[in-house]
């Protein structure tokens, strides 16, 4: 893999992992998961109930995992940016 391709991939990945975009994806996934769960409650037949309990929950969990990933990354960035305390003080 040449250096230019690596750079392009890195740039693409950085763009994809932007905080705002990830949170928007998490929000959209949450809405889809919620819609599936609400559908199963309003129409409790086998297909909606099974979809809500499997796909709906997987989507919801993915959304929450994305949120946690973003927030933890932000917190780590903040910590790294803080000036270190003087150990002698």
């Amino acid at each position: 893999m040449n250096a230019a391709l690596k750079e392009r991939l890195k740039a693409r990945l950085t763009k994809l992992l932007r905080t705002t975009l990830l949170l928007q994806i998490a929000g959209a996934l949450t809405l889809v998961g919620l819609a599936l769960m609400v559908w199963s409650m309003l129409q409790p037949t086998p297909l909606p109930v099974m979809l809500a309990m499997s796909v709906g929950q997987a989507i919801g969990t993915t959304a929450f995992a994305l949120y946690l990933f973003v927030v933890i990354r932000e917190i780590r960035r903040e910590w790294r940016g803080k000036p270190k305390k003087d150990p002698g003080a």
Binding site: Q24, G27, M37
Partner: protein
């Protein structure tokens, strides 16, 4: 709005969560601690509440006769259960308030330690079989072909009818076959005792006989113009 409080809580949480998300989507506030907390509420806490209460409501819904009867091949069984004039074993139990709307589940559930899980796994197989084999099957054909997978266990009946009570033992037929009933050698739902449970209950057939019946059915279908 459904009367079940679990459904009300679940839908309420889902609505609040969706409103917060839509609001954040259009406002696009900077990612401050307050925004993170709003997001935690909208993506984490409220959907989790929806999922928890929704799962409880979902599991409860899978117990209802309406749910079992939602596959068309179960329509005759559901109709018979709902018929106040029917005297079949299933219908008589459904007329009892203790069974009521959940009479299919009450009799077909496994009451063992992992009963609920075993029953739900069986339900998943039902969905698979229905989707793969019976989805487009005409009702008349389904009525002939569909049968219970395993013989109906007496232990299910004995969950309520313990066979210990004096009234039960006062019946001569019960007393004479007490151990056979308890051991599962004589089915409570057999013909001559209290069965068949449904008007369409079929006797258990051997694999050869079933294959033969299938061949006859296929031939009939081929001959019929």
């Amino acid at each position: 709005m459904p009367a079940n409080p679990f459904i009300q809580v679940a839908i309420g949480c889902a609505i609040v969560s969706a409103l917060i998300l839509v609001w954040l989507f259009f406002r696009k506030p900077p990612l401050t601690n307050a925004t993170k907390l709003w997001l935690l509420l909208a993506i984490g806490v409220l959907p989790l509440a929806t999922a928890t209460t929704g799962n409880i409501a979902g599991f409860e819904a899978t117990k209802s006769r309406q749910f079992c009867g939602s596959c068309h091949v179960m329509t005759p069984y559901k109709t018979d259960s709902e018929d106040p004039k029917s005297t079949t074993l299933a219908a008589r139990h459904s007329h009892n308030d203790l069974f009521g709307e959940e009479n299919c589940y009450a009799c077909h559930a496994d009451y063992g330690m992992f009963g609920t899980i075993v029953t739900k796994m069986g339900g998943l197989r039902h969905v698979y079989e229905y989707t793969m084999h019976y989805r487009n099957m005409p009702l008349e054909e389904a009525r002939e072909k569909i049968r219970i997978r395993r013989p109906f266990k007496n232990s299910t009946c004995m969950h309520c009818h313990s066979t210990e009570g004096p009234t039960w033992n006062a019946v001569k037929d019960h007393a004479s076959i007490l151990y056979a009933v308890r051991g599962g050698y004589v089915s409570c739902a057999s013909e001559g005792c209290h069965g068949p449970a449904h008007p369409f209950t079929k006797k258990k057939v051997s694999k050869d006989a079933k294959a033969e019946a299938d061949t006859v059915l296929e031939t009939e279908k081929a001959v019929t113009p």
